[in-house]
């Protein structure tokens, strides 16, 4: 794989790594408390399994992106591509679930009797929104990375055959 194919992949991976790192940071530092009827009502990312899953997957993606920068592209290109596919699937699934829970917190579900919570803890909601925006950037960049890697693997094999 010559330099012109390898430099965009490295750039995309660095951007994805930074985005997932920022998403993790923003989600972990989000907390807010509200006083309702004399009780203190705390909102943290720990309270929702979905947001915990989002944080875990973002950390895994950051560490994996850092590690995949140091893999020799000619020998292990296809293995990296396959693991990229699995990690991309995890990333997209965690982002989608977190957005679903976010929509539930913002607008509630009248059929199930779940009231929205963003009115009481607005700082928490804004933090989670910012984290999800960073996660969305990471998802788009990762998807482009996987498609671009696929194109390079195809060229690699075609020239060798």
């Amino acid at each position: 794989m010559n330099k012109t194919q390898w430099i965009p992949i490295v750039c995309l991976r660095v951007i994805a790594m930074v985005s997932t790192f920022v998403a993790t940071l923003l989600m972990v530092t989000s907390h807010d408390s509200a006083k309702v009827l004399g009780m203190t009502f705390q909102a943290k990312y720990n309270n929702s399994p979905t947001l915990k899953y989002f944080v875990v997957v973002s950390i895994i993606t950051t560490v994996y992106s850092l590690g995949a920068l140091f893999v020799p592209p000619r020998k292990l290109g296809r293995h990296v591509l396959v693991i990229d596919l699995i990690i991309m699937s995890f990333l997209i699934s965690s982002f989608s679930a977190a957005v679903g829970i976010g929509q539930l917190g913002k607008e509630g579900n009248s059929h199930a009797g779940w009231i929205p919570i963003c009115g009481q803890v607005p700082k928490f909601c804004h933090h989670v929104t910012a984290s999800l925006i960073a996660g969305f950037v990471a998802v788009i960049i990762y998807f482009l990375l996987v498609l671009y890697s696929l194109n390079n693997v195809l060229n690699l094999v075609a020239f060798k055959a």
Partner: protein, 202 residues
């Protein structure tokens, strides 16, 4: 996996047998993925349950309210049905391409790239939908005490179980689609016909 320069074409019989095996396995996996995603779509789309609650008593007769749980009350379920429908159509399209449009048109190697890229897009969309339903179901089953959201599944057992079944079928479909994609990526080198310039991707 990479055909070396010194490999003789007289070994073509074993390569041909390998190509046929891989093609058969890919077709089988695509058929299984088609059935799994079709099952997920249909099972979730038919998810509906009615439950009658006795709320109060006026005199001697209890006042009953009937509440229906439909799948479209949750946006994640709607996305699940649409995504799995798209995956079913994708599998159907790919199978028809494999079985009916074998070597008629010369795509100049773009056939493999298109198939693999479309597979990746489908995997992404379906995995997003399936996990969103999984976490919505988790909130419905366990509630969330911090957000004061009560659980719903203790009154609507069949609705929740049917939703879990659809989600499980969707995850199995994702697994098969991923296997197909990995097979395509790893075996592409052997699927190339060494005596011609154009790669004949399966």
């Amino acid at each position: 996996m990479i055909i070396m320069a010194g490999e003789k074409v007289a070994d073509g019989r074993s390569i041909r047998r390998w190509r046929v095996t891989i093609s058969m396995v890919v077709i089988l996996l695509r058929v299984l993925a088609l059935f799994a995603t079709a099952a997920a779509t249909i099972v979730m789309a038919l998810n509906k349950e009615k439950h009658t609650f006795a709320v109060a008593t006026i005199g001697n007769t209890p006042v009953k309210i009937a509440i229906t749980a439909k799948f479209q009350h949750t946006p994640a379920n709607v996305m699940f049905v649409i995504a799995n429908g798209v995956a079913t159509l994708h599998s159907l399209f790919m199978l028809s391409m494999l079985c009916f449009v074998r070597d008629k048109y010369d795509f100049k190697g773009l056939r493999f790239l298109t198939a693999a890229a479309l597979d990746m897009v489908t995997i992404a969309v379906v995995s997003g939908a399936a996990t969103a339903v999984a976490f919505m179901g988790e909130v419905a089953r366990n509630g969330n005490s911090h957000a004061r959201w009560n659980k719903v599944c203790d009154n609507f057992e069949r609705y929740c179980d049917q939703g879990s079944g659809a989600m499980l079928a969707s995850y199995i479909g994702i697994l098969f689609l991923m296997l197909v994609n990995m097979l395509n990526i790893f075996e592409y080198g052997r699927l190339i016909n060494p005596s011609s310039n154009n790669p004949l991707a399966a």
